[in-house]
Amino acid sequence: MEKKLKVAALRDGTVIDHIPSDKLFKVVQILHLDTCDNQITLANNLESKKIGSKGLVKIADRALEEDETNKIALIAPNAKINIIKDFEVVEKRPLILPEEIREIVQCGNPNCITNHQPVTTRFKVMKNEEELMLKCIYCEREVKRDQAKIR
């Protein structure tokens, strides 16, 4: 009941649910919500049957674009995105990890040009024996997806 009310309280906007608790503020950071003027509700450490403890973000009057929500796919691949209009869920959006990830990941190679010059980082998403890897398109080093450093 409680959860339903929270979602229903949003007339228009975006709800991001099922964010692992330790990733909530990373999501805030990646979506640049700190500089967003819309009404934003954050909740964290909510009980979740699926993942134990979860976070939730509600952004009023703004439907996030797909390339924005897909940025979350890297750190919270199982998050649920709902776009709300007039209190109704009008879109349940699947998260798709983009082929290339820009800006949000920092290259782990201290000798990489991106760590020394004002260069926007770019990583190619690759599969190596069933494991998702990110490959820096500059220094060509690979890192496992779950070991990628988020800026």
Binding site: C112, I113, T114, H116, Q117, N128, C136, I137, Y138, C139
Partner: protein
């Protein structure tokens, strides 16, 4: 951004590699031409590498082109804090192509993104050095008459040695069989073994250099550097074990050739130099023809 840049060996398809090797053979037959008449090539060496720089500059001059640039970052504007982006834009006002060596990995890819003229990567940190790879392949082709189905033995520092990594990638088109011979500390990293598996390339691994390359067509030696070892005792041991001596060649195949990217330290005994199987000095000279071919391709002047 220029599409003609050569940053990484993986930028070239099998056909492009073969066409570069073909073109290098033409330059070897006739190295002095005036196809780059009126062209200006910049050589920007943010870290010194006399060998590579002289090779590129000679390649350009023999084709009638001119050279501008610097051979050491200390004399360049980057030492005053100029960004690489700004240096590249400034130089591209004057030059038709830029040959660049930089101590940071990824510098060449970044330069190729911001540069209006083609970039030729002459080494970016420990990452790529495609002209070295192409001259290695040219040397293999010249000495074996083919690139197909060869037994290639890679020896020494297989962990940090970028030349061997690039060689594996580039040779993957030609059904090679590799033997990796390296001390435990300097073993071939997993990602290259995974690459081999993915591409159906056969390989074996050994940790000692003895006469264990009797079925090899190519013995590719690399430098074992002291600074790669945490334990200096271990370095001393490895250094002695990883020295190729003439006696070890006794039962090797007649067509075996020994390659080394140079400079060498102790990994090839000087008594090997007189063997007809030693090819590392000619290999270095092949670099000139390969670089003539690369510069010509990049400037569409083939």
């Amino acid at each position: 951004m220029s599409k003609n840049s050569l940053v990484s060996i993986s930028d070239y398809s099998k056909e492009e590699i073969l066409s570069i090797l073909d073109s290098a053979a033409n330059f070897e037959a006739n190295p002095n031409r005036k196809t780059l008449d009126g062209k200006v090539i910049a050589t920007l060496f943010f870290e010194p590498s006399t060998r590579t720089r002289l090779s590129f500059e000679t390649a350009v001059i023999r084709l009638g082109g001119s050279i501008i640039g610097f051979s050491d970052a200390a004399t360049s504007s980057s030492s005053k804090g100029e960004t690489l982006n700004d240096t590249i834009h400034m130089v591209s006002c004057y030059a038709d192509a830029i040959v660049m060596r930089h101590p940071l990995e990824g510098a060449a890819r970044y330069a190729s993104e911001v540069s209006p003229v083609p970039i030729i990567n002459a080494g970016d940190g420990a990452n790529q050095h495609p002209s070295q790879t192409l001259l290695d392949m040219y040397s293999i082709l010249k000495t074996q008459g083919t690139l197909e189905n060869l037994n290639i033995c890679l020896v020494g520092d297989l962990k940090y040695g970028r030349t061997v990594h690039s060689l594996i990638m580039a040779m993957s088109y030609f059904n090679p069989t590799f033997k990796f011979i390296a001390p435990e500390e300097l073993k071939m990293p997993d990602e290259y073994k995974i690459f081999c598996k993915k591409n159906g390339i056969k390989y074996t691994e050994e940790t000692e250099l003895t006469g264990n390359f009797n079925d090899a067509d190519i013995l590719y030696m690399t430098r074992v550097q002291r600074e790669r070892f945490q334990d200096l005792m271990e370095y001393e041991r490895v250094k002695n074990v990883y020295t190729l001596k003439k006696e070890m060649l006794e039962n090797s195949k007649p067509n075996l050739r020994i390659l080394h990217p140079l400079p060498r330290v102790t990994e090839i005994d000087p008594n090997v130099d007189t063997s007809e199987k030693a090819y590392y000095f000619q290999q270095a000279q092949n670099g000139l023809y390969i670089r003539q071919a690369i510069v010509s391709k990049v400037l569409n002047q083939q």
